[in-house]
């Protein structure tokens, strides 16, 4: 029983992260009909931004409340900026071209980021006043992410059968908060309405006076910031960062988005949670060696039975 509970906690924790990353995929797909393959790598860049901020703050400051807030803010703002540049210079020029070209571009960006971050290149810039600005790519080997939330046991069930830590609860609350903010943005604000209109038909939306370019750029920034937040939660949970983390998490989150029905916001959340739990229980109660095969097998199964995903629908294509 205790084991089941522990597996549930593990699965939900993994699933929340998948869900947050999947939301980014789904939003971009919604407005652009583009699978943003670089999404996971944007997340990875965000984690490194948070990492650099945390190291810069030092051991004491990084775990204070404002320190954590600053780390999240720096990563999310930095990623929003990165998302803006990617959209502006890599995707926007291709918007009227066949969709394949944008997809290839996305894969190209993903490669450039995940492999570029593995290089050990760097330079130092002397600043006035004896300071030195050193910028370096992180290199291939993984690093330990600092404990920005000092681990404390909050709840112990039985003879340490199940332990719940403070950061698990805090992470879950942050994730929930981010999802609620997103829900509000998409369904309760002018920007959200504009976004949904663009998603419905971007040409008609433009005729209605919606600045589609700006809406798409904002959507990109929003999804990238969300990815950075998700990435930080992921790094807090699994305590290590590496340039390839985006590839693995991005892939799984993408599967989650498709399972839930890509383009559908609640679908991404459900898909993420379902995938997290399925993986957890396959490892816990069946064979751990088959975990990745089960994840993708599940995806193919869902596509076979419900081609649009659990919550999506296959839209009739307009000519």
């Amino acid at each position: 029983m205790a084991q089941l509970l522990q597996h549930l906690i593990n699965g939900l924790a993994a699933g929340t992260i998948y869900a947050l990353v999947a939301l980014g995929y789904t939003m971009v797909y919604g407005v652009l009909k583009l699978i943003n393959f670089a999404h996971g790598d944007v997340m990875m860049v965000g984690v490194y931004m948070g990492y650099a901020t945390a190291i810069g703050l030092g051991r004491q400051a990084q775990s204070s409340l404002w320190g954590v807030a600053l780390i999240f803010a720096a990563a999310m703002l930095g990623c929003a900026l990165l998302g803006f540049f990617i959209e502006r210079f890599a995707y926007r020029p291709l918007r009227e071209k066949p969709r394949l070209t944008a997809l290839i571009t996305a894969i190209g960006i993903s490669f450039a980021l995940s492999y570029g971050f593995q290089l050990d290149l760097g330079f130092k810039l002397p600043l006035p006043g004896g300071y030195e600005l050193s910028l370096a790519l992180p290199g291939a080997s993984p690093r330990a992410f600092p404990e920005i939330i000092r681990p404390t046991e909050w709840l112990i069930i039985g003879d340490r059968d199940v332990v719940i830590w403070n950061w698990q609860v805090i992470s879950f609350l942050i994730a929930l908060g981010l999802m609620l903010v997103l829900q509000y943005l998409v369904y309760r604000t002018r920007f959200g309405r504009a976004m949904r209109a663009v998603s419905w038909d971007h040409r008609v939306a433009a005729l209605m006076g919606i600045p589609t370019d700006r809406v798409i750029a904002l959507t990109f920034m929003l999804s990238s910031a969300l990815a950075a937040g998700a990435g930080l939660l992921y790094a807090i949970k699994d305590t290590s960062v590496s340039p390839l983390m985006g590839l693995y998490v991005g892939l799984k989150a993408f599967v989650a988005a498709v399972i839930g029905g890509i383009g559908n916001v609640p679908g991404a959340v459900v898909g993420g949670l379902v995938l997290g739990l399925v993986e957890e229980f396959v490892v816990g109660y069946a064979a751990s060696t088959w975990r990745d095969a089960v994840a993708f097998g599940f995806l193919i199964l869902v596509l076979l039975v419900k081609p649009g995903g659990l919550f999506g629908r296959v839209a009739a294509e307009k000519v």
């Binding site: 522990q6 291939a140 993984p142 330990a144 340490r160 332990v163 830590w165 305590t239 290590s240 816990g284």
Partner: protein, 401 residues
Amino acid sequence: MRRLVPMLLAALAALAAGCEKKTQPAPSGESGAPTATAGQSAGSAAPEGSDTILLGEVGALTGGQATFGISTRNGVELALKEANAAGGVKGKKVAVRVYDDQSKPEEAALAVTRLITQDKVVLILGEVASSSSLAMAEKAQAANVPMITPSSTNPAVTEKGENIFRVCFIDPFQGFVMAKFAHDNLKMNKVAVLQDNKSAYSIGLADVFTRKFTEMGGKITGTESYSQGDTDYRAQLTAIKKTQPDGIYVPGYYSEVGVIARQARELGLKVPLMGGDGWDSEKLYELGSSAIEGSYFSNHYSPDNPDPRVQKFIADYKAAYGGVPDALAALGYDAARVAVEALKRAPDTSSASLREAIAQTKDFPGVAGTVSLDEKRNAVKSAVVLKVADGKATYVTTISP
């Protein structure tokens, strides 16, 4: 077209009827007679009058195992630098040409073929990963060029032929070391295994450990696996926790083991972890932090060893590359020094005399233990068991074959 199908069927039937066992065993590899090609490659191997002897090395400088390849290369370079400073070999300098194989066996085969046929190297050093070494060994054996692998522990590598040597111990021994240590020294009866299913090295160690530990009367409570690159091992660890083992054998690489240790502690698993030489890296203590304390791993050498040769190596390495050398650097260093010794002893640089000279290596004082090659061209060495304490590995005991 319609006539073609029955004709094809008839041809197939004729072939099937004609099948039989081959009368003699098929010649292994393309060149059943290595001596014929030996003349070609070895004769042109060292252009007379040139003032350098060129060695070749293949290593993973990029890709999944890049850190290991880079350590090995550093060790090799350091050894050659010292050899050249001491006057080289027979008045010539020794140089090494390094090619990257991106941790892929097909690239390793290409690189080794290039080294042999284009660069005409006299001897090949390399690979860490056993699958890449196997690919290289096949090519080196066919071309009859001697090859020394610094750190491939899979037994199959040296079985490829008489040209393939190694300066480290093999998986069956390392698995045995930890099984013996867990059973005799740590008095464990029940151990769970957590292996990296993407790595042949990890599976090999886990298999041997399981067999030996069971033979000694211990019990394996469960075997779980993960994939290199994962960061969440809670599901496996939760399943392991249920079986209440006395210890967990995690024969993986440091990049994953550090995180595994943290998550094990987080889930309330307080038992020690045990592992192999893949743990050996300073990164382990950064990634594992306090969680990895009190764990044990088997290794080729201990940086604590007071032997002046070892301490000099560590000091030189630190000066050249920064950081304490890991076991792979030490093995790369040893492999290159064994090669240089053999070059010195051999009357010329032809394959046959080099092979002879390497095979005669006996009681060679390497930094990662004394190297004596047996008739199967494997090094017979003892292993050390290290304990993680205060953010570094401290020597516990030595276990001999």
